[in-house]
Structure formats: structure tokens, C-alpha cells
């Protein structure tokens, strides 16, 4: 008996989105924690948070590109 497994776009996007999802959550949580500790620094924390989220999101985007292609 022989079965072939085809990995489709949905699976790629789902698995590839898992890690970055956790990453973005962690970044947001830590940034909120930092703002909670020091509300005056929020102006400096939020841009860095957004850039860091961009990095984490880029990894999800890689898998999304493959999901659209595959």
C-alpha cells in the first residue's frame, strides 16, 4: 500500500505561522510589561516593538509566499 502525502498551502501557512505567532505575542507581552513598569518610556518602546514584530512577522511571510506558490 502506497500513499503520497501532498503538503498544501494551508498546512505550510499553518505550521509556518505557529512560531511567528508565538513570537509576536511574546514581543507584545514584554513590551506591555515594559510600558507598565515605566509608562513614560512608551514612546521609545513602541517603535522598537513594531520593528521587532516586523522581524517576527517576516518569517510567517516566508511560509505564506511558499503557501501561495505550493
Amino acid at each position: 500500500m502506497h500513499t503520497t502525502i501532498t503538503i498544501t498551502g494551508g498546512i505550510i501557512a499553518a505550521v509556518g505561522g505557529l512560531g511567528p505567532g508565538i513570537g509576536v505575542g511574546l514581543i507584545g507581552a514584554k513590551a506591555l510589561e515594559a510600558i507598565g513598569r515605566n509608562p513614560d518610556a512608551s514612546g521609545r518602546i513602541i517603535p522598537i516593538m513594531i520593528v521587532a514584530m516586523g522581524f517576527a512577522e517576516a518569517i510567517a511571510i516566508y511560509s505564506l509566499v511558499f503557501a501561495f506558490l505550493g
Partner: protein
């Protein structure tokens, strides 16, 4: 559905003129024209356009200065050019009129302009320019000996870290180009899919999100370039 490769719209000899190339030229013309327009009549009491441009330039210059004190004049033109070019080319695909101009051949529609960042060639070229500029700047400011010392050393551990650093230079090209390309390309694909469901109202929130993504990606690209340039123009190691 948007195709992965940029669609050629004309040929000069064997060289295809793609719609991302025309968009690149459009962005260039736009940037040069606005630079010319601003510099033509610089006033002490600035007009709205001049003031807004000054705010952008000043904020980025302050940022560059805070990261690399003395090299700011050297690094700033590169990062600012990257930022302006990428943000304008990212936004160029979102304006409704730009992507609607085109022509049909058979049943397929080929737009005359397509956001330059949705072509891997463009982002790869930007990444290569960033990398080559960084290394040239490193040799120029530190000298060839200091530059090579970053990668090659006779001490085993430093040789190992130097090797890692050399490999990371190659992966830097890939991550730089794919990050920008992927984000903007996927944005265009999702916009296309949503527009196919309902061209009215549905894509509007996503257009705003894509503007946000485009801005963030432009900031990331230019900030990373700036950070690497600052890193590579400062002496390596803790020999002293």
C-alpha cells in the same frame, strides 16, 4: 491573480521591460522631482511640503547620529535613500489608479505599473547595494587590514567566529531581499484575492494594513542597513 515574476510589457532587443521596472522609474522620477521641487525654493519660513520633508529627514538624521556618532554623514545618505525609495515603491502599488492602467492581451490583463518591491530582482538589487556599500565603507574607514581581521584570524576561536560572520553576510542578502519581497508580494496577493471576492469596501482595511506593513518594512530595511554600516565602520574586537 498576480504572477510571481514581473510581467514584461515590452522588449528592447532581448531585454524585457517589465512592469516593475517602469514602476522603479516612476518612483525615481517622483523622488527626483520632489527633491528638485523642495530644493528649488528653500525658504526660512518653510512651506508645508518643505516642512514635512524636513521633519522626516531630521528625525532620521537624529536617529543615525544616536547610533553612529561620527559616521552619520557617511551612513545617512544611504539609509535615507533606501527608506524613501522603498516606502514610495511600496505605496505605489496601493494607489488605485497606478495598478489599473494597463492593457489586455487575450484574456490576461497586464498592468503598466506594479509595485517595485514585488519583484525579487529589485529587492535583491537593493540588498546587494546595501551589502556592497557596507563593505566598501568598512574598507574605506577602517583600512583593508582591519577589515580582513573581522573575518580571518590565526586564533582558532576568532577564526571560527570570523567564519560565522562571513556566512552571515551571505544569509544577510537572502533575509534582506526575501523579507521585503515577501511582505509586499503577499500583501498584493491578498489584496487581489479580496478584490476578487468583493472589490467594494472589503479591501479598504487591508489597504491601510498594507500601508502600515510597507512603512514598517521600509523602516526595517533602512534601520538594518544603518545598523550594519555602524557596526562595520567601528573597529572590530577587543584587542586593546
Amino acid at each position: 491573480m498576480i504572477s510571481l515574476a514581473a510581467e514584461p510589457i515590452a522588449h528592447i532587443g532581448n531585454i524585457p521591460i517589465t512592469n516593475t521596472l517602469t514602476d522603479t522609474l516612476l518612483v525615481d522620477v517622483l523622488l527626483i522631482a520632489s527633491a528638485w521641487y523642495v530644493s528649488k525654493k528653500i525658504a526660512v519660513i518653510p512651506s508645508f511640503f518643505q516642512a514635512s520633508m524636513e521633519i522626516v529627514i531630521e528625525e532620521f538624521y537624529k536617529l543615525t547620529e544616536s547610533v553612529s556618532e561620527k559616521k552619520a554623514m557617511l551612513i545617512f545618505p544611504f539609509m535615507m535613500t533606501f527608506f524613501l525609495f522603498i516606502i514610495v515603491s511600496n505605496f505605489s502599488g496601493l494607489f488605485p489608479i497606478v495598478t489599473a492602467i494597463g492593457f489586455f492581451h487575450g484574456k490576461d490583463f497586464t498592468p503598466l505599473f506594479r509595485s517595485a518591491s514585488t519583484d525579487l530582482n529589485t529587492t535583491l538589487a537593493l540588498a546587494l547595494v546595501s551589502l556592497v556599500a557596507t563593505h566598501t565603507m568598512s574598507i574605506y574607514t577602517l583600512g583593508l587590514k582591519q577589515y580582513i581581521r573581522r573575518f580571518i584570524s590565526y586564533k582558532p576561536l576568532e577564526l571560527y567566529t570570523g567564519l560565522l560572520e562571513a556566512v552571515s553576510e551571505v544569509t544577510k542578502i537572502i533575509s534582506f531581499s526575501f523579507r521585503l519581497f515577501g511582505n509586499i508580494f503577499v500583501g498584493e496577493v491578498i489584496l487581489g484575492l479580496l478584490s476578487a471576492i468583493s472589490a467594494f469596501l472589503l479591501p479598504i482595511p487591508l489597504i491601510f494594513y498594507e500601508m502600515f506593513v510597507g512603512t514598517v518594512q521600509a523602516v526595517i530595511f533602512s534601520l538594518l542597513t544603518m545598523a550594519f554600516m555602524a557596526l562595520f565602520t567601528s573597529p572590530h574586537g577587543m584587542e586593546e
